[in-house]
């Protein structure tokens, strides 16, 4: 397209990066938050903070299910684990699924405040809260991200020398370019892996050739053959269900250690009932975990399944690398930091686009198009940070009994974001807008642990004393975020002496050999 391969890749990287950068920033930031989605949900439900870990009472959970939904088609029991201390039961009846939360040891019902919790960020991340069309949009963005990463490597051939280059006092554009390069190169394997594995998760939607060619386009039958779940129709003959706690214990004899994640009962109370026990995949990379299926009425073992076929195992590990059910704290924190690095790479790339062009033109000749790009960048980047903080504030401040409370938390988020977007249209000075919105988000994050002290009993002082590390970490990360954002706002506020660069040098920067 251009005179050389490198120049074409530079063009592709710049324009693909710009047009999809705002979307990718949102996807990567919400994705980074999703690394700790269960911890966020836990922080957002103070009513669960008193739960103590202990051996879950599976039999009481089964009795609760028999009371609540004796004629359901399916039951589920989700056992508590380190990241989620509550016992959950689900049932499916007449096409609808219901959930109840129970205390693990006593199986007494708990009803925390209605909230989407960390799932709000999870759903934002993979579908932008737009269901299937949203999955398509995120997929397109992910493909552009892959292309941007590959083209970025092509144009950045001096990849190792430049890794150690940071010129904060050179020109604004060089400083931003250096940060963009460092955050990109520092965790480049992570960025490539997370983008690729993300695409692979929704392969039947993005690249349905496999489903079309072999399964006549039927996704369900494709997954049936992949997961090889034991299924059979109900006999409509009643028969008592074997005690689930015994079956769960027997399942362990087929696994090497580990704990149970799910107990699923298909056609409970029927002669053809099935009980499927799934192992918690918190110590392996493969996401699709080992399973034992029992006959629900007789207790006979019908299937012992491990996803060990080579391509399936590879796919399962790819999903595991993305979802990270593998639960080692240090890895989870590394994912969080690398996710922030990717998010920073995208944000600095967007900033770089504007800064580079502003240096080429006189301040008077700053075109409307550039102003639009910069406004969008502030609104998306700083606005999203403000909105996330507001979401957490709303969780603590909205009345517990409010109807559609979870929806209202979401509305507060989007109102805050919309407000920031409007704010970008009010002022002329872009630096002021950046400074004000970043300071706003800094203040909201810094004060969140204080708000926590006023609104709950499990605030930072208590959680540090009692060693409740999940909750303490949340408040501490908010402090750290507030400080970092505040520093950034202060840094942007300082007048920077911009050394105007001749056009030729800027071109050299882009097309360097």
């Amino acid at each position: 397209m251009k005179d050389s391969f490198k120049q074409s890749m530079d063009w592709l990287h710049t324009w693909g990066g710009l047009l999809f950068g705002w979307l990718l920033f949102v996807i990567f930031f919400t994705g980074t938050l999703t690394v700790f989605d269960k911890e966020i949900t836990y922080w957002m439900q103070p009513e669960l903070h008193h739960l103590t870990p202990g051996l879950p009472d599976i039999e009481s959970a089964a009795q609760e299910l028999a009371r609540a939904a004796p004629h359901a088609e399916r039951w589920w029991v989700e056992l508590p684990h380190a990241r989620e201390p509550v016992l959950k039961i689900y049932w499916e009846q007449a096409g609808a699924t219901e959930t109840r939360l129970l205390e693990p040891v006593s199986a007494a019902r708990v009803q925390p405040r209605a909230t989407q919790g960390g799932d709000f960020f999870y759903r934002f991340h993979y579908q932008l809260h737009l269901d299937r069309p949203g999955i398509w949009i995120v997929g397109a963005a992910a493909m552009v991200m892959l292309v941007a990463l590959v083209s970025g490597v092509v144009i950045h051939r001096r990849i190792f020398t430049d890794f150690f280059t940071f010129r904060p006092t050179a020109s604004s554009h060089r400083a931003w370019l250096d940060i963009h390069n460092i955050t990109g190169v520092l965790a480049l394997p992570f960025h490539l892996m997370i983008t690729f594995t993300g695409l692979m998760i929704f392969w039947p939607i993005y690249m349905p050739a496999g489903v079309d060619v072999f399964y006549k386009g039927n996704e369900a039958s494709a997954y049936a053959q992949l997961e090889q779940k034991f299924e059979r129709l109900p006999a409509n003959v009643p028969a008592p269900l074997m005690p689930l706690v015994d079956l769960e214990r027997r399942a362990h004899s087929y696994w090497r250690g580990g704990t149970t994640q799910w107990i699923e009962v298909k056609h409970p109370g029927d002669r053809e009932a099935l009980v499927e026990i799934t192992r918690l995949p918190d110590d392996k990379l493969a996401l699709v975990s080992d399973r034992v299926t029992f006959d629900g009425a007789t207790g006979e073992v019908l299937q012992v399944w491990k996803g060990e076929r080579p391509a399936f195992l590879t796919y399962s590990v790819m999903m595991g690398l993305h979802y990270l059910w593998f639960d080692k704290s240090i890895i989870r924190w590394l994912y969080f930091l690398m996710g922030l690095s990717a998010t920073a790479m995208i944000a600095t790339g967007l900033r770089l686009w504007t800064v580079k062009r502003r240096e080429r033109h006189s301040p008077d000749g700053f075109l409307f198009g550039y102003r639009l790009v910069e406004s969008l960048t502030v609104a998306v980047v700083a606005g999203l940070l403000v909105a996330v903080a507001v979401y957490f504030w709303a969780n603590r401040l909205l009345p517990i009994e409010l109807a559609n409370r979870a929806l209202w938390e979401m509305i507060c988020f989007f109102l805050a974001w919309g407000g920031c977007a409007l704010h970008t249209m009010l002022l002329k000075n872009m630096a002021s807008i950046w400074r004000q919105q970043l300071s706003g988000s800094a203040a909201l994050f810094l004060l969140l642990p204080v708000l926590n002290m006023v609104t709950t009993h499990t605030h930072l002082i208590t959680t540090l004393q009692k060693g409740m590390w999940i909750l303490a970490s949340f408040d501490l990360v908010c402090f750290a975020a507030g400080i970092l954002l505040g520093w950034t706002a202060w840094r942007i506020g300082r007048p920077v002496e911009v050394k105007a660069e001749p056009l030729g040098e800027a071109t050299f920067e882009a097309g360097q050999t």
Partner: protein, 99 residues
């Protein structure tokens, strides 16, 4: 570097490349993936997954080709000709499988 002014791009040129990359690239990827999974000597579900893993790499390469190709003609032909060859191989095989 002495390059002088950057080569100016007509908007039509850019739009054509974008369509080539997005649509032509997808057509090539779909055809190549179908072809690959029908040719791989693996059980059905294994072949489907393996080929699909490569598909995202193929699509990335196709998009890069669409923009890197020296001319618009090469950009399109470089995508459509391999796509048609793969489709020609894959269609009879797919019919035999019953897909």
């Amino acid at each position: 570097m002495g390059k002088g002014t950057q080569k100016q791009l007509a908007p039509g040129h850019v739009a054509t490349r974008v369509v080539a990359a997005a649509c032509g690239g997808y057509a090539l990827t779909y055809a190549a993936t179908a072809c690959l999974m029908l040719l791989l000597p693996l059980p059905v579900s294994e072949a489907a997954l393996t080929a699909t893993m490569f598909s995202f790499l193929i699509y990335t390469g196709a998009i890069i080709w669409a923009f890197a190709a020296p001319s618009l003609k090469k950009s399109w032909l470089g995508l459509l000709v391999p796509a048609m060859i793969c489709a020609a191989v894959a269609l009879p095989l797919a019919r035999a499988v019953g897909g």
